[in-house]
Structures are given as C-alpha cells and as structure tokens.
C-alpha cells in the first residue's frame, strides 16, 4: 500500500485557482446570448385562496417578455408525492408558494414587474405546529391527494415504521431505562453560491438546462416526466452543471424554480435565467426539517443496551420533496448506532403551513443522532457508568449485522472513542461540574453508496490521447468538495500517469454515463471504484499496444543508433518478454517490464507508444478509451425497511470541551476532537477540509443556527439574523484520522462528506451537561435556553 505515488498524498487542489481568482463561471456569471431574467412572485399568506391575479400592469412594463400565472401553464403536479403544482392557481399553502413569474430583459425590470402584479387573497385557517396539525379538526393543508381523492388528515401517507427484536423483552431485561424528549429546528444549508439555472430551448424544442443540481440524471428524469405531461414528450433534455457553489442538500430534488424557468423559456423562446438572492435562499428553498423525538432506552447492569424505542414527528411543511425520506436515514443511527438488539422506530411526517423541507448534509442523521446521543448520556448517568465507557461497551464492531441488516465491514469506532478520550483529556476533565465540561458522541453513516434508488451506480469514461493526457468524463457534480483533484489522483495512480495529466469533466448528461448523484457521501467511493475499473480497461489497451509496438520500436532505435555509430553493438534481448501485455505495467508515465522494472531497454514513455499505435498508416490505428459502470452489490430496503444499503459504513466520534458562563448562558468551545474512520485518506488536506467544514456546520447546528418562523414566515432571511458562524468564530479542532482500510473502497477509502456534522451538536450538549449539570434537549442551545434552564434547576 505504501508504494502509492499519488493516492494518500495531499496534492493541492487543481481547479480552485480559478475560484479564488474569480475566473470560475458560477451560475451568477453565466450568460447566454439573448438571455432573459426570470423572477418569481411568492405568496403573501401561509394559507389562502387566490381570488384574482391581475398581471396587466406587469405585462405593460417595457422590457417584460412574459408574465405567467397558474392559468398560463399546464396544471401538472410535481414533487416527490406529486402534491404541488408549478405555479399555484387556486390555493396557496405556504409563504413560499410560487404564484406568478416574469421574464424580462434585466433583473431590475423583472423585479419591478413582480411588484406590479396584484393578487387578491382570501385568508384560510392555517396550522403551524405538527402536533396541532395531527389533531382532529385541524385545518387541512391539502384537501385532496394527487389523484383528487379527499384527504382527512395532515399525516403523510409515508409509513416509516421499523421493528426488530422485541421491545417488551428488552424492557424486561433492563436494569435501567430512560425516556427523553428531544427536538431540533429548521436550519438553512447556506450555500455560498445561491441557487439558479438557465433554461434554453432550441428550435426543435429540445432543452438544455444549465443547472446546479448534484443529481444530473435524477433531474433529467424528473424533467422528462414533466415534459411528457406538458406535450413535450420525446423532446431531448441535456443537463449541464456550471461551477456549483455548494449544495448541502438543496440541489438534490428538482426545485420549483427550475420548472418555472423552463416554462418562461418555453413561452419566450429565449434562454431564461433565474437566480436567487439571499432572501430567497432562506425563504424559498427547503431547509433541514425540524423533528421531535421521544427516545426511550434501556440497558442491563453491565451497561449493555437492551432496547431503543424512538418516535419521531417531522414537520414536513406544505409539500413533500425528497426530504420526506429523511426518516429512512434516521433509521440508520436509530437502529444501528451502537449495538442494540431490540428496536422500535416510528416517524410521522405531518403537513403544516410552514415552508416545506428537504435534505441537508447528513440527511436525517444529525437530528436522530442528537436524540440517540442525548439518550445515551442520560442512560449512562442513570446506570452510573462513565459516558465514554458506556459507548465503548456498546460500540459497533467489524462483522456485526445490525438490526437493520447493515453489514458492518471495516469499523474504526473503538479507535475513534479511545483517541477522542485521550486527546480531550477525558479522565481528568469529566464530571467536575465547575463550569467546564467534556462531552462525547459518535456516528454511523453510509460510506459506500446508498441504495435509495434502484440503481446506485456510477459511470465513468476515460480516454487517453496520443500525448498521454487523460480526459475523464465523470457523471458526478463538483460542488466544491475537491473531487477533480481526488479523481485525478485515483486515475493517475491506477493508470500510471501523473495527476496533472488528468482533466476531469463533470456534470453533463450528454457526455457522461449514468450516476445516482453526488450525495450520501458516496462520490469518492463510487467514482473511485468506477475510475479504477475504467482505468484497468484503458491500461489493458495501452499495454496491448505496447506489447505490439515496443519490440519493433526498440529494435528500430537500435538500427538508428547503428547507422549513427558503426561501432554500436545491438544488445541481445529476449523480446518475447515484452511481447506479452501481462508482463508489462505502467507507472509514472513509463511502461516497464514487471519482472525487471529497471531494465535498461525495456521501458518506454507512454506517449511514444500511444502515438505509434495511433499513427499506423495501415488501417489499424487505435485510440485508447474505456468506460466502466460501478453498481455495488447492495440492497434496497425491503418491506420491513431492512437491507444493507451501502457497501460500507463510516464511524466517528466527537469530543468537546466547553466552558459555560453561568451568568449569561454563553457556551464557549475550548477544544473539539473529531475522530473519523475514513477507510483511507485519499488526500489528507481535502479530507480535513470536509471534516472542518462539517464540524463548523455542526457547531452552528448545536449553538447558533436557526430559522425563525412566525406563523409560517421566515423572520430572519439574512446573515445578520441567521447566525451562521464567521471566520472569527473558529474553534480549535483536532482531527484524528483513523484508517482501517476498507476492502470495498477505492484504495480502501470510505465516504466522509457528511459525518463530521453528525455527532457535533450532541457532543456539545453532553459537554454542557457535564459542565453545569443542565441538559438542553432542544437545538440550537442558545444562551437564553441555557440561562433559563439554570434558573429552573435552582
């Protein structure tokens, strides 16, 4: 393993120089000739009937090219449960409901036109609390389902119920049990680059969509389905990623603005761009959903977990996106974080008139892990066991088959817990109650793909030109994670060239093979494996070429030498050795004899062979190109919601030391240790970037970030009042990289995009408890909540 030239090395990022010098073309900079600018009018109410919409003034404004309302576009339902339309015609159910849209020759004119649209509403009773919404007689958010059948409840028809073992049995075996009520709120993904797209039709009504999605083929599929309903069946769709300024879940589903942009482009027959401003990012994008948990757990006298019962209520908001599947990811920590034999889990998603929710980094894992890890601490205390020791007793181990049927292959959790304890100074610091305290929490997450759709595959194409340069057509999205660098390291390593020889082309449905999307921490794992497969094929082609031409080329070189220098004696060589591709290999741009790598004659620059093989002159010219599609042998969840949906799982532990100001309720993080089992660090610098970024997001989730909704309206749609942490708020983070190496991973790697976030908030909450004996079970842990809890505990 140690003889890798590029894998495992902190090679500097390649294309980021363009980003930091302002040259990279984000959607904001992206222009097409004749392009118009689209803008959306949103609802003024959380729930209302639209009585009338008057667009006359807007249409008359010079520079306006189209004004659309729900009456101007086909009444087609879209979304995960097909519970909304593109432009709302009769009823609005949330403040972000799209009521009208405008395309104009400048963003300013579009905005002015939006202001000129007059909408008359009749307000309807609304419901903003999921528990209230479940009660009989609560206002119904939807009167009918997608097929027009009357609905009687706000509860979504998504039954997330999971059972393994026997809870009652578990209860009987318990010496200690605890029950906790835990809750989390809305948080925004806060991408640096705001959302947007450009839709452009050619004269045959084929669509090119320049879009920031990180699931290009999913996006294409949804738009294709939409096309078949609006009379564009059979028209071609091409999705192209511009440079994506972060996604963190926002670009997973096809958002309504994309459909609106398509409609505006169709109407005007011009390219149309919709670009969100920051307020829209907060008000009109789906954030992470709030969840409330009732967690019950038990353990025996030795501290072994006996059962875990979790009931969750999720505020879905007014419509349903992919976010409604977060309970399936919650199931992972619920069923499989630590060894628990008996599990009961039920999640209820409820419609309300709040803005609807989506996925965010970690999917439902941060919410559920906050519940599980809060309960782990209260149970440890009740059982009189040190919280870190308690986790050690129940740690997951290699070879485990969890109640959800996840197959735990490589597992570095033990090392993670041990190193966090040691680095944070656990034994000296815990249990002092002197205003300083330490806390710990762990995580499990998919790290080898996540089979949420029937194909969890990833395709890659590799072509090598006559100069030895490699183009990789990669179906994932580079959303800032640094994949171009890592993929070129993997390609260079497995093909035998250098990373700087490799160009990676991302995100184009016309150029790339199918991919399930750059989400679920799956990209390095999937693309890495696919790249290795493709490179093996390409390498084979090159070596066949070499076996054919190398002997001839070496001989003719000798001839040339003899011509120049009559004294030169041609060495006697066994050319059969290099006439068999199996005897050859490539490394660092050189083709060489495996049995004698330093052979003075039997080695050759790769580009010499490539050129010779291409410029043959006899009708036998060859190019080097290979493709591979990696679809791992994983399972989708069965009827019982069980199945091994990933090839491998990531583990990690976070330890936090805090200081709490008892007079102000302020929490200061003195240090944070984040230990992660990453399989193998492909590029340590990039890996740490993922860990740091995720940890900071986790600190925000734990302490400061919250979207404040008042009767369905976002009251803090800006960075002044939404407390995203700044560079000045950095905390000391000590990362610990645990590398057990994973058999299924490319060079042993596992996914690490999301994990850092997951255990951060619960570790902070646990540390606060250790510091002052007060436990906050509702995120974020604001100074007000801490102070209130201190007062109540007196």
């Amino acid at each position: 393993m140690s003889d890798h030239l590029y894998v495992g090395k902190s090679i500097p990022r390649t294309i980021e120089i363009d980003k930091v010098t302002g040259r990279a073309v984000y959607i904001d900079d992206f222009k097409r000739p004749g392009m118009l600018y689209g803008k959306i009018l949103y609802s003024d109410y959380a729930h209302a009937r639209i009585k009338s919409i008057n667009i006359a003034k807007a249409e008359k404004l010079p520079g306006v090219r189209a004004v659309l309302t729900g009456r101007d576009v086909p009444d087609v339902r879209v979304g995960f449960l097909k519970d909304q339309s593109v432009l709302k015609k009769d009823v609005v159910r949330q403040f972000r409901d799209e009521v009208a849209a405008v395309a104009a020759i400048s963003p300013d004119i579009a905005r002015e036109a939006i202001d000129l649209i007059e909408v008359e509403y009749e307000e309807l009773p609304a419901v903003f609390d999921p528990v209230e919404a479940m009660k009989e007689g609560a206002p119904l958010v939807h009167e009918t389902d997608a097929r027009g059948k009357p609905l009687r409840t706000n509860i979504l028809p998504l039954p997330w119920r999971f059972q393994a073992g026997d809870i009652e049995q578990g209860r009987r075996e318990s010496a200690f049990t605890v029950i906790d009520h835990v809750s989390t709120t809305w948080v925004n993904q806060c991408c640096m680059g705001p959302s947007g797209c450009i839709a452009e039709f050619d004269m045959n009504s084929n669509l090119t969509l320049y879009n920031q999605t990180n699931v290009i083929f999913g996006d294409k599929g949804r738009i294709s389905e939409y096309f078949s309903q609006i009379g564009l069946k059979g028209k071609k769709i091409r999705i192209i990623n511009p440079i994506v300024g972060g996604s963190f879940g926002t670009k997973l589903d096809t958002d309504i603005y994309e459909f609106i942009c398509i409609q505006l482009a169709l109407k005007t027959r011009r390219p149309v761009k919709i670009l969100f401003d920051r307020e829209e990012e907060f008000r009109a994008l789906p954030p992470r959903q709030p969840a409330r948990f009732t967690v019950e757990q038990g353990c025996d006298r030795e501290g072994r977990l006996t059962f875990r019962k979790i009931e969750a209520i999720l505020d879905n908001g007014a419509y349903t996106s992919w976010g409604a599947t977060t309970p399936s990811v919650m199931m992972m920590p619920v069923s499989s974080l630590y060894r628990v034999p008996n599990i009961y889990y039920q999640a209820t998603c409820v419609y309300t008139n709040n803005i609807y929710c989506q996925a965010m980094r970690g999917y439902g894992n941060p919410q559920a892990s906050f519940a599980v890890e809060t309960s782990m601490d209260t149970l440890a205390e009740k059982a009189g066991i040190d919280p870190a020791e308690f986790r050690m007793i129940n740690r997951n181990q290699s070879g485990d088959l969890t109640p959800m049927r996840l197959k735990i292959t490589s597992c570095g959790l033990e090392e993670c817990i041990t190193s966090v304890k040691e680095k944070i100074g656990w034994n000296d610091k815990k249990g002092k109650r002197n205003g300083r305290g330490v806390g710990i929490a762990s995580l499990i997450h998919v790290a080898g793909g996540a089979r949420v759709t029937l194909s969890d595959g990833h395709g890659i194409m590799v072509k090598v030109d006559e100069d030895g340069f490699v183009d990789v057509l990669e179906s994932g999205t580079d959303q800032g994670q640094g994949s171009p660098t890592v993929i070129s390291q993997i390609v260079a390593e497995s093909l035998g060239v250098r990373p700087e020889d490799v160009s990676v082309i991302f995100g184009d449905t016309a150029l790339c093979l199918w991919d399930a999307g750059t989400h679920a921490s799956r990209h390095t794992f999937m693309a890495g494996n696919a790249a290795i497969m493709a490179c093996e094929k390409a390498k084979k082609q090159i070596l066949e070429m070499a076996a054919e031409y190398m002997p001839r080329m070496i001989k003719s070189d000798f001839k040339k030498m003899m011509k120049k220098d009559p004294e030169f004696v041609e060495p006697e060589l066994d050319y059969s050795l290099i006439s068999d591709p199996a005897n050859l290999d490539i490394r660092d741009r050189k083709i060489f004899l495996k049995s004698d790598p330093s052979h003075p004659h039997f080695n050759m620059d790769i580009n010499k062979v490539l050129r010779r093989g291409l410029h043959v002159g006899t009708g036998e010219s060859r190019v080097i190109a290979a493709e591979a599609f990696y679809d791992p042998p994983t399972e989708t969840l069965d009827r019982e919601l069980k199945g091994n949906l990933s090839m491998t799982y990531a583990f990690g532990t976070t330890g936090v030391e805090v200081e709490v100001d008892r007079d102000t309720g302020e929490v200061k993080i003195l240090q944070l240790v984040a230990a992660h089992d990453v399989g193998k660090a492909m590029n340590p610098t990039l890996l740490l970037g993922q860990v740091y970024g995720a940890v900071y997001t986790g600190v925000g989730y734990g302490l400061t970030e919250e979207m404040k909704l008042e009767k369905g309206k976002v009251m803090n749609p800006n960075f002044l009042d939404y407390k995203l942490l700044t560079a000045m708020d950095v905390i000391p983070i000590k990362p610990v990289i645990v590398e057990p190496g994973d058999e299924a991973g490319p060079y042993g790697a596992k996914g690490v995009g999301e994990p850092g976030l997951v255990p951060t908030a619960p570790a902070i909450a646990n540390a606060i408890y250790d510091a002052i004996g007060v436990r906050i079970k509702d995120l974020p842990i604001t100074p007000e909540k801490v102070l209130e809890a201190i007062k109540n505990s007196k």
């Binding site: 000045m728 708020d729 007000e784």
Partner: protein, 288 residues
Amino acid sequence: MLNYDYIKPESIKDVFSLLKEYGAEATLIAGGTDVMVNIRNRKLSPGVLISLRGLMDLQYINKNKGYHIGGMTTHRMLEQSELVKNELSALHDGASRVGSVQIRNVATIGGNICNAAPSADTAGPLLVLDAVVVLEGPEGKRKIPVAEFFTGPSTTVRREDEVLVEFDIPEDNSRYGSAYWKHSRRKAMDLPILGVAVALNLAEDRTIVDARIGLSVVAPTPIRALRAEEYLKGKSFREDVLLEAGRIASSEASPRDSIRGKAWYRGDMIKVFVPRMAKLAAERRGVI
C-alpha cells in the same frame, strides 16, 4: 427603482448648496454601509446620493483641550488609535467590534450616529464619554450633547441641511476609565443583543467619584441609566454595590422581545454586564 445619481462634492459649502438644490430627493452618504443596505431593502429610494467622501478633512482624531473626532473618521481609525484605546477605551471597544475589518475600513462614526440605530455600537460609548455632536449647516455650527441627539429609532435632531462634522469629548474623561460590552452571538458581523457602556471616575480609596452608564438596544434610543449612576456616586467600589447598580440600571431599561433576543434576557444581561464593565473600567483606570 435603483436609479439614483451620485455626486461627490469637494467642499462642505458645495454639500450645502447641493442639499438645498435637491431637497428631499437627496441623501448624504459617507461609508454607505447603512445607506446601501437601506436602498437594497427598499427602505430608502433617494434620487441623488451626495457623498461626503470628498471631505477628507473631516477625518481626524486629536486631543487639544478635550478630544476631537471628525465626523468622517472611520471605525478602523478609531480602532487603530492609541489615544482612543488608552483614554477613550469604551469608544475603542465599540468601534473595534463594528461589523468586520472591511466594514470598519469604510464605515464612519458620523454615519453610525446619524443612522441612529438603537444598536449602534459607538452610541453607548459616546454617551458615557459625555460626547457632544457638532452639526454644521448653511447658517453655521451648533452643538448638541449625544444624550439629546437621538429622538427615536433612526431619528435624530439633525436637520436635513446639516452635516455632522465633529464629536467633542470633554477633557475630564482622562480621569475616567471606561469600557463597552457588545453582547452578541457571533464575534464578527453581528449587531448587539444589548450594549453596556460604563465610565467610572474612582478615587484612590475606591470611592466612586462619578459613574456614567450607557445602555443600547434596550430602549427606542441608546440611554443613560441615570438612577443607577446616581446610586453609585459616593459609594465604595464593591461587588454588592455594583450588582445593585446593575439591578437599578436594568429597571431603567425597557427592552422588548425581538427575534434577536428576549426582553427578560436583555434585562438580565444588564445586571450581569454593568458590574463586569464597571470592573473593567476600574481596571483600566488603574485603581483595582
């Protein structure tokens, strides 16, 4: 809608004549860090922006029978001034916590005070330093104590044809130690949940000769906690005395619930930070 002209006159006389010419259409702009935000948020739609950035002679900090700070002085200049740091410490605390370095490089103290946000970070410090605002109009100059300058959120006694040219801070501040606490959730790019400024004149025997307390974000304008100040005068500098002063100051405030903070929390924080700032002020004065 975003159509406005921009004029940058080179003298204060020209500013006056432009203000006269454009009347209500005109808005003065210094660093623009409030003005541009207000234009974007549509709270302001000026026909013409009259820049004060041609009046660079209004950028100064000096000591000459009292302290004089030009209206166009940036927060960054205040932050980097040793004089302000050592002798007007509360103002140094306030100015160095405004926004970020980028903001402080352009944002001015004159803009901060004329904008008259209840959360303005230099308001509390200027209050406890007993600063006087110097306004200049076509008819000449007039002086108004900062304590009388604000009339409500975003409103002041400044007339539309006047420019804030200077802050005068009395010389006797050299006998005071002062400190300002900005209570906020983040270390940068944040507005205070509340601000507490304290200036203390302490005798060697720890008797409080004089005390001034300024509170921001807890009333429609930044206020002085006069009863708490009165209570402190003549008392000995002791923990229980300071705590009582905090309680009195808190009762003088009228904080409200907002998305930035709850009223009860703000009230409680006054009780915490009046004593803490008093101690810091005393420490800086060198008495404790």
